[in-house]
Amino acid sequence: MSAFLDVENLHAGYGTVPVLRGVSIRLDQGESIGLFGPNGHGKTTLLRCISGLLPSSQGTIRFDGVEITKTRPSDIVAQGLVHAQQGNTLFGDMGVAETLALSAFVPRARKTSTETLEYVYELFPRLAERRKQLAKTLSGGERQMLSIGCALMCNPRLLILDEPTLGLSPKLKQELCDATAKIAARGIPLIIVEQDVDFLLTLTDRLYLIDHGTVEREIAADNAPDHAEIVKMYFGAEDA
């Protein structure tokens, strides 16, 4: 069976600084996967390569059998591979409703925009309350919701979420975890980057530990190591 997303031996970096040194991950049909690992070891860089924002120097990326290694970001979105960035201000001077309306930009998204918008407002009632508010005046949690909402408006066939709960209060974090679970339950395959491995294990089939720009370890969710062992992996005590 061919993989839905297949990343092979990917190398990339910024200027002369290499960040990814041969990353290979795959996501089979109907699967969701999680990525975790220390900050600054290439998780976000990997996502930027997959969505076409950053060119890779070596390696291939295939989505649903089509090579997208050198495809431009807008065409990748048009194929249904959508990346929700960490909650930054998307378009500071645009209102919530306007941003969501604009996000249904590619043809496959326009067809479903009315239903998706309803779904996004149902998933994040806070966004519905703040329709007219400018994005730059939103709180961190609301920005994260808007970022995910925009990605959903693109009508994704595969959705990448980059640390949806980063820097949020426990209450908001729970809200976003619940929302992520609802998106997964809707049948949209996910690639989730998170530090909270327990949360990842509830939603995904497999985890990859990304460290030093490579995949250090692949973990099947039904055969997951316990918490203490994961802490060990993070701090490298295991192989030291």
Partner: protein, 288 residues
């Protein structure tokens, strides 16, 4: 006395209308790409010359001439974007480099026009002949047409930017290129569209200006400095602020000419601009 005041007000309104159309074109490119297009004035001049050549020289009439002028400016704008601006996206000194390249484009177009059309004064035919009298002041119908047209053009740009998907996508690209790309907006295409529209506005302004003043290769140079004052004065970026500032500068210029004469007016305008920037660094109507 009353006649003079009314005449000056109308003159200010006319100047403001022309500045508003020019400055909104400059501001469109600035907000989308972060590039200040110094060839904007030259594109105006190109529009005026092409309108004259097609309308008067080839005898195809004023309407076809005007549209040809606008189209020629748009084509030139897209060419400038593709060859002189696009290679420098993402470069660390993009703003500075594109100042140089668009200045180069200005010089090429101005000198080119001098070779092609020579320096003999030309004037485009008018869409509307005759004069009308407003409160004792007499202006040509063409000037009245410009005064009426400008707000309509500004309104159309505003509607385009806020209501249409393409217009919104240009604003999105201006605010966050990565995020725009990630919702499926083709950033390069947005740049081309912004440049084409901006150049089209330059062409339109040039065609209109060429019908009320003489067309020379340096037709756009002086209005460009005024439009730059307007864009900076209004606070870079916001459409409404730019339009507002255009009319303020237009009226100010008209009354300064009445009181102090043509000689001191540019000087005072720059003093006013610098003072405003010292007191309000984000421009007269600029928000933080």
């Amino acid at each position: 006395m009353m006649d003079t005041v009314i005449a000056t007000l109308i003159s200010g309104l006319l100047l403001g209308s022309l500045y508003a159309m020019m400055a909104s074109g400059l501001s469109l490119v600035w907000t989308t790409l972060g590039v200040f297009n110094f060839s904007h004035g030259a594109l105006m001049m190109l529009g005026a010359f092409v309108a004259w050549t097609v309308g008067e020289g080839a005898g195809l009439g004023v309407w076809i001439g005007s549209f040809s002028g606008i189209a020629a400016a748009m084509v030139a704008g897209v060419i400038i974007e593709y060859f002189l601006v696009r290679p420098f996206y993402g470069s660390r000194n993009m703003l500075l480099v594109t100042v140089m390249t668009t200045l180069a484009a200005m010089i090429i177009i101005e000198k080119g026009a001098q070779i092609i059309w020579g320096s003999r004064l030309k004037q485009s035919p008018r869409l509307f002949e005759g004069d009308i009298s407003i409160g004792g002041a007499i202006i040509s119908r063409q000037e009245a047409f410009i005064i009426v047209l400008a707000p309509l053009v500004l309104f159309a740009i505003w509607r385009f930017a806020t209501v249409t998907a393409t217009g919104r996508s240009l604003r999105a690209v201006g605010q966050n290129q990565d995020a725009a790309a990630l919702i499926g907006i083709n950033v390069n295409r947005a740049f081309s569209i912004a440049f084409a529209l901006s150049a089209g506005l330059a062409g339109l302004t040039g065609v209109l200006l060429g019908s009320i003043r003489f067309i020379t290769p340096s037709l756009g140079a002086e209005p460009l400095t005024k439009a730059m004052i307007v864009v900076i004065f209004g606070g870079l970026g916001s459409m409404g602020a730019t339009a507002g500032a255009a009319y303020v500068i237009g009226f100010l210029e008209a009354f300064l000419i009445l009181w102090l004469g043509l000689y001191w007016t540019p000087f005072i305008l720059f003093v006013v601009m610098i003072t405003v920037l010292i007191l309000r660094p984000n421009g007269l109507f600029g928000r933080k």
